[in-house]
């Protein structure tokens, strides 16, 4: 089961014509797909588009009614290849992933489908993970659209515009036989809002019909001579068709004033941020009404040259608001104006930063600079309104700690890196090649383990150069998500084939945890719609790996011993440690309500948690440096003689036991204790406890009386 149940969200997908949909952006897109008569949907989960996948995977009955096939693709490449269904048949299809990482993976199939051209509308929904909160390299999806000739939509970030653009996207795709990419920035995916729904549409042509009556057209296959024909077709047929559709249906918008010798051209997705900046500069009101002419590009590729020329012809200067780099739109703009011999100055990266997210503050500063140079006196204010004086800012910088992300409380991946830290103390540091997933948090404090991360499932490939005799082996990390995404073939297959002698640790926690806890082939849970319970161990043995050791991650001692053996054994060949334990976030989601209910129902239930004995804790925090569990924190020492804070376990503790294991494995202090709280004890439990208490109490009272002889009284 995914991390969350989307039962309420699924209901929203049923809304009919005229009803108002309230919800987040990515869910609105999901609804718009059904309204557009989509036949199939695929994709690979990842923020910010995970919810699209999660909701659809919980919406099986609705999809069945409509005859829509939804597939959790094995990778973005697999998802992109799915669009092949729209090449020969009038089938609308949509695929989705996190970009640019997913687009990188998908680009082989994307280029193919773009070359073949499509008959049915093909929509690629990319969640652009750029700017604040992003966890990937900062790049643009834009050049993928340019290089393969895929049209790129970047709608204004409100639900009405976004959902309209889904519908228009399919039409544009069909009108120009070209796949269309819908780019949604991270906040647009999660913006809450509303739009007026339409009825869902059952596709007129079904997948079954296509399977039963296959159509073959040699001209659509990417192989000579068709591949050369495709290129010509792109230029001569598909491009003009797209331009004509975009113009006719006014996908780009002319907003704001119609006169004036300065104007602004903006990517649709940045429109709201621009308007807020303009409002703060006194150039617009809250409804976006302004005298300044604005050309809003809801389609950022291709550029509609007529529209550009028309907009710029009567202007001395235009401000180009284009996020990220290189500035493809600005360059295209300059080319168009040059070719038309128009003298309008294009001001873009000259006043706006080349790198980084365009926040309201950034755009406000850009507006100030642009207007100061090209229409003085128009924009209010002269410089940025940083409300804090430098001294206050400095004091805050000194006193507010950074808060890097980390493993959740009780996370089963933590002890793997604790074990690695301990083994490095013993054998020295190792080159560690990381992968993508929660386990990548190992590079952050307190573990500080990891050299590189090359992409999803590429953990072992990232260390493949180090396949040479040496005094030390390398360690690579891979999650189960990355393993099934491609690591099985690229990493494990490659290591077997190339006689690799190094070590791979596969984090087998039962889910694609970092993307929201989706099921995988190797998930232990039963899933009614998918096949699970396919062990990774069988897969790697099948590929020819003989040294495979499954280890329960919470057994820290065994993990250390297994790592030591893998790193020092004389056995040649690839060595794989399967670090197994269920993702704690998912486990708690499942077990907590059950436990609560059991306690309420009066069933005998043991709740476990850990604690630190402040009497023996001396405040060295070695345990924290080896764990980093959020529930392991610090508190004032109750000891009037000591100065350093003691370690404390807070109430979030889920009793995973790692801190106790660490105390043993690293030979720390005797301060950790495990408390088992027995709810609803039986009569036997009570009797036994009473006997124990009586005997222990007897000795304790005896000792108390002895100590009382040395009592200092109640003076402290």
């Amino acid at each position: 089961m995914a991390e969350r149940s989307f039962a309420t969200e699924v209901q929203k997908l049923k809304l009919g014509k005229g009803e108002t949909f309230h919800g987040e952006g990515i869910l609105a897109v999901t609804k718009a797909l059904l309204q557009a008569g989509v036949s199939y949907v695929g994709g690979y989960q990842g923020a910010p588009i995970s919810h699209l996948m999660d909701v659809l995977s919980d919406a099986e009955p609705i999809l069945n009614d409509l005859g829509v096939h939804f597939e959790t693709s094995a990778s973005e490449a697999a998802a992109a290849a799915m669009l092949a269904a729209s090449v020969n048949y009038p089938l609308r299809g949509a695929v989705t992933w996190k970009s640019t990482v997913g687009t990188n993976v998908a680009s082989d199939a994307l280029a193919s489908v773009a070359s073949s051209g499509v008959m049915g509308g093909a929509l690629i929904i990319v969640g652009e993970d750029y700017g604040e909160g992003s966890s990937i390299m900062q790049e643009r999806s834009h050049p993928f659209a340019m290089k393969s000739q895929i049209w790129l939509l970047d709608p204004r970030p409100n639900l009405t515009s976004i959902t309209q653009m889904v519908e228009k996207g399919f039409e544009l795709s069909e009108a120009s036989n070209t796949p269309v990419m819908l780019e949604l920035r991270i906040r647009a995916c999660h913006v809450s809002g509303s739009f007026t729904a339409k009825d869902n549409v059952k596709p007129a042509f079904t997948l079954a019909e296509a399977m039963e009556h296959p159509v073959r057209d040699y001209g659509r296959v990417v192989l000579p001579p068709s591949n050369f024909v495709h290129e010509v077709e792109k230029i001569e047929k598909r491009w003009p068709a797209a331009v004509s559709y975009i113009k006719k249906h006014k996908l780009n918008e002319f907003l704001g004033g119609s006169t004036g010798d300065v104007g602004i051209i903006v990517q649709g997705g940045l429109y709201n941020t621009l308007m807020r900046a303009m409002q703060l500069a006194g150039l617009a009101d809250s409804f976006g009404r302004t005298d300044i002419p604005i050309y809003c590009l809801n389609v950022t590729y291709p550029m509609i040259e007529d529209e550009v020329r028309g907009f710029c012809a009567d202007k001395r200067a235009v401000l180009m608001v284009e996020e990220g780099q290189p500035e493809y739109i600005e360059q295209a703009l300059n080319t168009i104006l040059r070719q038309a011999d128009l003298q309008t100055r294009v001001v873009g990266k000259e006043v706006l930063p080349r790198a980084g997210e365009y926040t309201g503050q950034v755009l406000r500063n850009g507006l100030q600079a642009f207007f100061a140079a090209h229409a003085p006196g128009k924009a209010k204010g002269t410089k940025s309104d940083q409300p804090l004086d430098p001294k206050t800012q400095k004091q805050l910088t000194q006193n507010v700690p950074q808060r890097p992300v980390g493993f959740c409380t009780g996370c089963p991946e933590r002890p793997v890196f604790t074990a690695m830290k301990l083994i490095q103390r013993e054998l020295g540091n190792f080159h560690v090649s990381c992968d993508i997933g929660c386990h990548l948090f190992s590079i952050l404090p307190p573990f500080n383990i990891g050299n590189t991360t090359m992409g999803y499932g590429l953990g072992w490939s990232g260390a493949s150069a180090f396949n040479t005799p040496a005094g030390k082996r390398t360690i690579s990390i891979m999650g189960d998500g990355g393993f099934w995404h491609n690591g099985l073939t690229s990493g494990v297959g490659g290591a077997v084939f190339n006689q690799n002698d190094n070590v791979l640790v596969i984090i087998d926690n039962g889910y694609s945890a970092a993307t929201g806890g989706q099921d995988l082939l190797s998930s232990r849970a039963d899933n009614t719609n998918r096949v699970t319970n396919q062990p990774i161990e069988r897969a790697v043995r099948g590929l020819g790996v003989n040294w495979v050791r499954p280890v329960n991650t919470y057994d820290l001692g065994k993990m250390v011993r297994t790592l030591r053996e893998a790193l020092t054994t004389d056995v040649k060949g690839p060595k794989i440690i399967l670090a197994q334990s269920e993702c704690m976030l998912n486990r708690q989601r499942r077990e907590k309500p059950l436990q609560r209910k059991a306690i309420q129902d009066g069933q005998r239930t043991i709740k476990t948690r850990f604690g630190v004995d402040a009497d023996t804790c001396t405040g060295d925090h070695a345990c924290i440096r080896l764990s980093g569990c959020p529930s392991l924190t610090i508190a004032d020492t109750p000891d009037p003689l000591r100065e350093d804070p003691v370690t404390r376990v807070n109430n979030d503790c889920v009793g995973c036991g790692v801190c106790g294991e660490i105390a043993h494995a690293a030979i720390l202090c005797p301060s950790f204790y495990r408390a088992e709280i027995l709810h609803n004890p039986t009569r036997w439990d009570r009797v036994r406890a009473a006997v124990r208490r009586a005997i222990i109490g007897f000795f304790q009272r005896l000792d108390e009386r002895k100590r009382a002889r040395y009592s200092f009284g109640g003076t402290s």
Partner: protein, 505 residues
């Protein structure tokens, strides 16, 4: 351009603190009460314990109707343009300040509790940053600053911090909605309604400044000291300056508890010498710093943590009660306590008679043989008869302690340490105090203890090169702080190198 503006609300939180729930409530509250509402968030890895922001805008529907136009709402807060900032922890309030979200038009609602960042928890000493500065800056910068410990409030009501924050927002009157409207929003949410309403009510009460005062626990009657220790107390009070009494008292209590009144007498004997010296070098004018510093660390050194001491502490009745309270066990529940201990051969030898202990440590085969029994960690259930009686048996070895290996070792170390302090006093009083405080490095057990000893030795060895310097005490302080920064000794090496370079150039 004059225009109706949206109400802008930024929630700065850590992943998993219910910031999303709070944002949803505010959106629902607005929508049900005549406002258009929009929220945005940045999902992804930031929600795994990192700092993250939820942003909400509310716009009066009436104004939109009049304008026949939808407002354009922003996707993220702009510095200087935020009306309400809600911070689920005080340092997150500081972060909101740094990002420029808080100005004189801002109502800042913050919980004053701390969730320590890993950089604060990691150091070997005290790495905590100062929330008071942040509080003061917040109070200075914000138009209104409402802050109290909402985490504690949530715990006392068995609810969630999000509901306390929501209640505080209601009480702040920063939004034009009634209390009933807020409560209706919680009820509409349908999840943990009772708990959320409790938290909400407490937040509301606190923001309005009507928290019922917590009744102070009654002070227990003062009992006189037992006859066996009364003379020690009398000596402490008559022989030492009053400003040193509290620390000496804590120290004396500790060492007597560790061993017996005779050991307390030894403590006072040692302290008397230090106090005399302190008196001779103007201790009175210096707040008796030397006496106080030595009193603190001499007690800790004399009451060192050996296996006997640990077993003694772990079998006390008070401890069982404290644990039950710590883990929130109620009276009708049975609690089982299991201790994680790992005594090694070294710890065993510590409590053996000196010749025997030394023999085992120096004889490879003997050490190896004993290692068979002390090679791995032990889980001892102190609530079981077996576990309790085992530990009590170890604790009962206390009378033999004076003849143990560790006792002798510690006695020598104490003498050396006191000598180094005593000899430093005449030339540099502050240096003597720093040398006393250097004991802070030595703590813990096993590897931790050995690392502390090593750092202590490194610094005292380095002292030889600068002991005569006028600011030698400052160097010691810098080195001590460096040693407490990281366990690999990187900061200490860097500090030492800097010190040496600074002295040669």
């Amino acid at each position: 351009m004059k225009t109706v503006r949206p109400i802008t609300i930024a929630i700065t939180a850590m992943g998993g603190q219910g910031g999303g729930v709070l944002a949803d409530w505010i959106v629902g509250l607005g929508q049900q009460n005549g406002y258009l509402a929009q929220s945005t968030s940045v999902p992804g890895v930031a929600q795994r314990t990192g700092a993250t922001i939820y942003y909400v805008e509310l716009f009066p529907a009436e104004a939109a109707d009049k304008a026949k136009h939808d407002p354009i709402l922003a996707m993220m807060p702009v510095p200087g343009d935020v009306d309400i900032v809600i911070a689920s922890e005080i340092m997150e309030a500081g972060r909101a300040l740094m990002r420029g979200f808080v100005t004189d038009r801002t109502t800042l609602i913050a919980s004053t509790h701390r969730v320590y960042a890993i950089s604060e928890k990691e150091p070997l000493g005290d790495g905590r940053q100062d929330p008071d500065t942040v509080k003061a800056l917040a109070a200075k910068t914000a138009g209104r600053f409402i802050a109290f410990d909402m985490d504690a409030a949530a715990q006392t009501t068995n609810s969630f911090i999000s509901s306390v924050l929501f209640g505080t927002l209601a009480g702040s009157d920063a939004l034009p909605f009634s209390r009933t409207a807020y409560e209706k929003t919680i009820k509409n949410g349908g999840k943990a309604v009772e708990a959320n309403l409790r938290g909400f009510a407490l937040g509301l009460a606190n923001s309005a400044g009507t928290t019922p005062a917590i009744p102070a626990s009654p002070t227990p009657p003062i009992e006189p000291p037992a006859p066996a220790v009364a003379p020690l107390m009398a000596r402490l009070e008559s022989d030492f300056a009053p400003a040193t009494h509290d620390m000496l008292h804590h120290g004396l209590k500790r060492v007597v508890d560790f061993q017996d009144p005779a050991y307390g007498r030894l403590y006072l004997d040692r302290m008397a010498a230090v106090h005399e010296l302190d008196k001779a070098y103007n201790g009175a004018r210096r707040g008796w710093r030397l006496t106080r510093d030595v009193a603190r660390y001499l007690a800790l050194k004399m009451a060192y943590d050996d296996t006997v001491r640990v077993a003694d502490l772990k079998t006390r009745a008070s401890r069982f009660a404290r644990f039950a309270q710590e883990v929130g066990a109620k009276d009708d529940q049975i609690i089982t306590i299991t201790e994680f201990m790992h005594p090694r051969v070294e710890e065993l030898c510590d409590i053996l008679p000196t010749p025997l202990g030394r023999f085992i440590l120096r004889t490879p085969w003997a050490k190896k043989f004993m290692g068979l029994f002390f090679g791995k960690g032990r889980r001892i259930e102190t609530t079981s008869l077996h576990g309790f009686l085992l530990l009590r048996l170890i604790a009962s070895l206390k009378p033999l302690r004076r003849s143990s290996l560790r006792y002798g070792v510690e006695a020598t170390r104490i003498t050396d340490w006191l000598d180094s302090i005593t000899s430093a006093v005449p030339a540099n009083y502050a240096l003597a105090c720093e040398l006393a405080g250097l004991q802070r490095l030595i703590k813990g057990y096993g590897d931790t203890y050995e690392r502390g000893m090593k750092n202590y030795a490194t610094i005292t060895a380095a002292l030889g090169t600068f002991a005569e310097a006028k600011n030698a005490h400052k160097h010691i302080k810098i080195l001590k702080e460096a040693a407490l920064k990281d366990e690999d000794g990187l900061a200490l090496s860097a500090a030492l190198e800097k010190l040496q370079n600074g002295r040669t150039t």
